[in-house]
């Protein structure tokens, strides 16, 4: 109970309030939820995310395109005639590609968002808590990572590795965990001086207990917000990687490769191949950013990169 109260700045009740009353009026999660819902854009974002998930996961069960007998004959067809959004230059139904693409794009987004944040969280908490030489070494590693140009890295990797879903998730996580690590490190630097950390020390609690039970739970606001922004970023970067040559083949559709394929034929006037994929990417990134911004206000955290 006491731990939960301290999670959220602004959510902590008056210290001398009675225990029962505290729970009824000052539950921080209720406050967070209330602030969140007051933000109309956040609700729009949340609804959008649910719709996009339904579109990708349930959509393929409901919508079926006519199976093309001859892929070449059915290529680059405009919307209509059984193909709701037309077909692409491989003769595949765009609607189906986008639904399947949503599955992989959102999967990459969620997994990379969560993995990179958790990795950064543990790393940053350890560096910030122990401080001194360990912190210095750990932060220089972060600095080195951030000084390696991501664009160049992926252009280079496109030459030596053949991407698959797992490799993409791994590489995206590898370049995404650095900023969360730096954020959490900054926060745990300040958290470790708090009274409750000293109290645990006084009661004989070890360093790892403090990190696992007190530091990490207290960064919950930063973490939630970071995950949201990281998901948005991963979905966007996945689409950009396609252009850099580090993308998946059309046999594993992503919104990125559908868009990339379409962009190559844009000059031929096949607009229906371009816009749906582009709109889906934009909506996804927007939705997660809306939710992230609102969570940032609700948890009252400041994400400073430096």
């Amino acid at each position: 109970m006491a731990v939960v109260d301290q999670n959220v700045p602004g959510g902590a009740p008056e210290p001398d309030a009675e225990a029962g009353e505290v729970y009824a009026t000052g539950n921080p999660w209720v406050l967070v939820a209330r602030t969140f819902v007051q933000n109309r854009l956040a609700v729009v974002g949340l609804v959008l995310i649910v719709v996009l998930l339904l579109f990708s996961l349930i959509g393929p069960l409901i919508y079926h395109a006519p199976s093309a007998a001859d892929a070449l004959a059915s290529k680059d067809q405009g919307p209509g005639g059984g193909y709701l959004l037309g077909t692409d230059s491989n003769g595949s139904d765009i609607m189906t590609q986008l639904m399947k693409g949503g599955q992989s794009s959102l999967l990459v987004g969620f997994v990379v968002g969560i993995f990179s944040t958790v990795l950064g969280l543990v790393y940053g908490a350890i560096a910030g808590f122990f401080g001194k030489a360990l912190d210095n070494v750990m932060m220089r590693i972060i600095d080195i990572g951030l000084a390696i140009p991501v664009v160049f890295l992926f252009v280079f990797l496109a030459q030596v590795l053949k991407p698959n879903l797992l490799l993409l998730i791994g590489m995206l996580t590898a370049v995404s965990w650095l900023l969360p690590a730096r954020l959490v490190r900054g926060e745990s630097l300040s958290l470790r001086t708090r009274e409750y950390v000293q109290a645990v020390r006084g009661m004989g609690g070890g360093s790892w207990r403090i990190i696992a039970r007190h530091l990490i739970p207290n960064t919950i606001g930063t973490i939630t917000v970071t995950i949201t922004f990281q998901i948005a970023n991963a979905v966007l970067v996945l689409a950009i990687l396609q252009y850099l040559g580090f993308g998946l083949p059309p046999t594993t559709p992503t919104w990125g490769n559908t868009l990339f394929l379409a962009m190559q034929n844009f000059q031929d006037g096949y607009w229906w191949e371009v816009y749906p994929a582009l709109v889906l990417i934009v909506l996804t990134v927007l939705a997660f950013n809306f939710v992230g911004d609102a969570l940032q206000d609700a948890f009252d955290v400041r994400l400073q990169e430096r």
């Binding site: 600095d143 140009p149 948005a232 950009i240 934009v282």
Partner: protein, 310 residues
């Protein structure tokens, strides 16, 4: 300063290790340079001649001492020294990256302040929507949409850069071809900057010194220009510092779309041709710019804000 050197050394080591992966593919760099018909013995001889058969630390030490003596290496693919390639190409990146950086800031700063002043009014929402949508689009899509609108549908600007010449004069001799790349990069950077500018201006607006300025009867114009704008510039300084390497890395996609042969464009070609030393040097150069940008930002920040002491 000592930290900066450690970081640079780390970047160089990691880049060196990563690029060594090129040599695990087929015949590696040697195969790419000598062609697919070269016999195995020739590959071995080439590797020996260029020191690729030596242990990692020997190669690295050789590279590092050479780099420190000012020799940036030799591009096998382009058959000229990396430093002469860079002096040909960098002007394109500086023009494209520099102009779009200045333009995007020149738009983002006043717009951010205006949005903060008109917070949650329709103007603010409209401008936020524009920057959010731009932010959410893959940059190459922004570039291709611009080409579609301004080069293919209406022929206002050329779709690609056609001058093959190098150096400053070549960039400015065909400047109309640079306009679309500059616009597209400006839009992408603007979308990135504007989010910071708006929130930083909102934070500044809530400060006590703004209230004091108003209370002592300064005109709103003075409050905004002297107090709000100046303090919001602190955010910009940091962003400019962090953007220093982006002049090279941020232009990769734009240059590829517009066929503009700057460093970013050439890096992609170099990677496709396993042009080992070019890739190595350019990556280390970006590392140097990153570290330098951070240092400059910290120094400028401390100079402009007397409350900050390092």
């Amino acid at each position: 300063m000592g930290q900066a050197i450690i970081v640079l050394l780390g970047v160089t080591v990691i880049t060196f290790l990563l690029l060594d992966l090129l040599n695990t593919q087929g015949g590696g760099v040697a195969r790419q340079i000598l062609g697919s018909k070269a016999p195995q013995s020739q590959l071995i001889a080439w590797n020996h001649q260029n020191g690729f058969d030596k242990p990692f630390y020997v190669q690295f030490w050789k590279y590092l001492t050479r780099l420190l003596s000012g020799n940036l290496g030799y591009s096998y693919h382009y058959n000229q020294s990396v430093s002469s390639l860079l002096s040909d190409e960098l002007p394109r990146d500086i023009v494209l990256g520099g102009i779009s950086l200045i333009l995007s800031l020149a738009i983002a700063i006043p717009v951010g302040v205006a949005q903060a002043v008109k917070r949650n009014k329709p103007v603010d929402h409209g401008l936020t929507a524009v920057s959010f949508v731009l932010y959410s689009m893959p940059p190459y899509a922004v570039a291709i949409l611009l080409v579609q609108i301004f080069a293919i549908s209406t022929h206002v600007f050329p779709a690609t850069v056609t001058t093959s010449g190098n150096g400053w004069s070549a960039v400015f001799s065909d400047f109309s071809a640079q306009i679309l790349p500059i616009i597209s990069l400006t839009l992408v950077s603007y979308a990135y900057f504007s989010r910071y500018m708006r929130s930083s201006a909102i934070d500044t607006l809530a400060q006590d010194y703004i209230r004091t300025a108003r209370a002592k009867g300064l005109s709103e114009r003075m409050v905004l220009s002297r107090h709000l704008l100046r303090n919001s510039l602190l955010t910009v300084i940091t962003l400019v510092g962090l953007s220093l390497p982006v002049v090279i890395t941020g232009t990769v996609i734009t240059e590829s779309v517009f066929n503009d042969p700057g460093v970013g464009f050439t890096y992609v070609t170099a990677a496709q041709n396993y042009d080992y030393e070019y890739m190595l040097t350019v990556t280390v150069l970006v590392g140097v710019l990153t570290v330098l940008g951070n240092l400059l930002a910290d120094m400028a920040y401390a100079m402009l804000d007397p409350r900050i002491r390092y």
